[in-house]
Amino acid sequence: MWRKLGSAARIAAGIAVAVLFVLPLLWMIVGSLRPTGLPPARTVEWWPSDPQLGNYIAIFDLLPMGVYLRNSLIVVAVAVPATLLTASLAGFGLSQLREPWRQRLLIYTVVLLMVPAPAVWLFRYQILSWLGLLSSLWALILPAFAAGSPLLVLLFYWTFRRTPVSYFEAARVEGADAWTSWRRIAMPMARPTTAAVIVLAFALFWNDFTNPVLYLYRPDTYTLPVGIQILKQVDSTNWPLLLAGATLVTLPMVLLFLALQRQFLHDDALSELLDRG
């Protein structure tokens, strides 16, 4: 009896916390559906009384949102697959490397994780300018060929370390090369990690605000996150309009996350992360 009550209380608390965390997202969407020109509500709107899509049309009329959207799509279309490839290959390479280099490169990767992003702003600007890539989408895509973030390499490394060594040994005895091992054994066993890395890589490039602000100055190269800031400069108190812009940037990310989260957030996936073979 008490146990049942306890677990009910736990579920209630869990739901309360989850609702609190979803609230900013809910308020964004509700705010964006308000009819244009209507004065702001004086009480909390939990649901739009008269939902309209006018603001979503207005932002495309006001600014070349289509161009920004296209640029954002180009960036993720190139950068996400490139990140997945380089991060999984590097993680696999790291897991198959012999000592002492495995340990050394592992420490290198963890140290990279601790380098604050602003530390590279100045010289990356300089390097991009030398390469002639300032204010081109390549300035945003380039990190994808370095695995996007060291964290993604580590995620793959941890996954591949838990794949039983005997699998790879057997493949090697059979004469399989490293490429085949990666493609036939390692990757098929790393589904949850792959899903997580796709989400994280998409977030890295789609959500990126700082790099465009630092390295892009030609309006035809702007991406969506920059676009909604321009929206704010154009019409800074038109909240339904600004929230429509925010929703436009946020929605693809949220949908991708919701589509793939089951792969790595449900119970089996979390335990799988720890099954040391």
Partner: protein
């Protein structure tokens, strides 16, 4: 491994192995290929992370505007910065922010992980729910909070007013503005929650069973079992948070307040940006970065001493 056996006839006669030169042999060997897999990552990070981060240190001792060649000025940049009230204020703001945000984020992540760690159908969607704010694009996230915190029309004050609670001016007053930034950072702890969840799963259930048999209560098993096992994970998380949470103030301070009111939200990354990309004082910006490196290192050493850590956290 039947999968491999069926595979091998196709992969064994590798054209590269036939080539007699050493490069060919290296490319054909398993160990050689493994090293080639690491090449893009190693070269890329060397060019895009290591070189910029290291060269910044050299730049700190020069005067450089990114156009004409740098000239050596010794410690002048550091002297100027330490004498500058704005630089000192931004470091003070940053430290204050870190001291509030990092512990709260850590407690929040562990608390939520403990609440949502149970297996069960309902918990999967709840975990996804608490992760959601973490994946909202930061530019949009800043706009959403600008709306939520709007003192006149924002939903937060409407809610507080409706409940008869005080309605602060949030981003308009210096101290509530700083608190607003802490509040915003408490919702983006998805990464920490996942790490804590994974950490919790490493604890064998038998350990709790044994503690129960010995008469330990819930609270006791939390302090004696859960926390010690989680400790290395939490330490790693703290170090990462020290770096990440400060750099994440850039977008909100750029979008929402541009450092105001009265420089209350001028955190280190924003000042760095202004020095480098508004004033084109790359030397001064680099020196400021070096000061930040030193402060972060001090904090890390301080925490390591505080915890009394003897061996490195095992991340391998």
């Amino acid at each position: 491994m039947p999968v491999i056996t069926s595979q091998s006839p196709r992969t064994t006669p590798k054209p590269l192995a036939v080539v007699r030169n050493r490069a060919g042999a290296f490319l054909a060997s398993y160990d050689g290929q493994v090293r080639i897999f690491l090449l893009p990552f190693l070269l890329g990070t060397a060019l895009l992370i290591v070189a910029p981060a290291v060269l910044t240190v050299g730049l700190a001792f020069t005067q450089y505007n990114s156009i004409s060649p740098p000239t050596w000025v010794g410690l002048d940049n550091f002297k100027n910065l330490l004498a500058s009230p704005l630089a000192r204020l931004s470091i003070r703001n940053s430290l204050l922010f870190l001291f509030m945000a990092v512990p709260l984020r850590l407690v929040g992540a562990v608390g939520i992980a403990l609440l949502l760690q149970r297996p069960g159908r309902i918990y999967g969607p709840l975990r996804a729910g608490v992760y959601l704010p973490t994946i909202i694009p930061e530019g949009a996230y800043a706009l959403i909070w600008l709306w939520i915190l709007n003192p006149l029309y924002g939903p937060l004050n409407a809610l507080l007013g409706g409940l008869g609670l005080p309605t602060p001016d949030w981003l308009i007053q210096p101290d509530t503005a700083q608190f607003s930034f802490v509040l915003m950072s408490l919702f983006t702890i998805g990464e920490g929650i996942i790490v804590a969840l994974v950490g919790l799963r490493t604890i064998p259930g038998a350990l709790y069973e044994a503690a129960r048999v010995d008469g330990a209560g819930r609270w006791q098993s939390f302090w004696r079992i859960t926390l010690p096992v989680l400790a290395p994970w939490l330490l790693l998380l703290t170090f990462r948070d020290l770096v990440v949470v400060l750099q994440n103030t850039f977008t909100p301070s750029f979008v929402m307040t541009y450092g105001g009111p009265y420089y209350a939200t001028t955190f280190a990354p924003l000042l760095l940006f202004e020095l480098a990309f508004d004033m084109f004082d790359f030397g001064g910006a680099a020196a400021f970065m070096v000061i930040l490196y030193a402060l972060t290192a001090l904090l890390v050493v301080g925490i390591v001493n505080l915890v009394g850590l003897n061996q490195d956290a095992d991340v391998a």
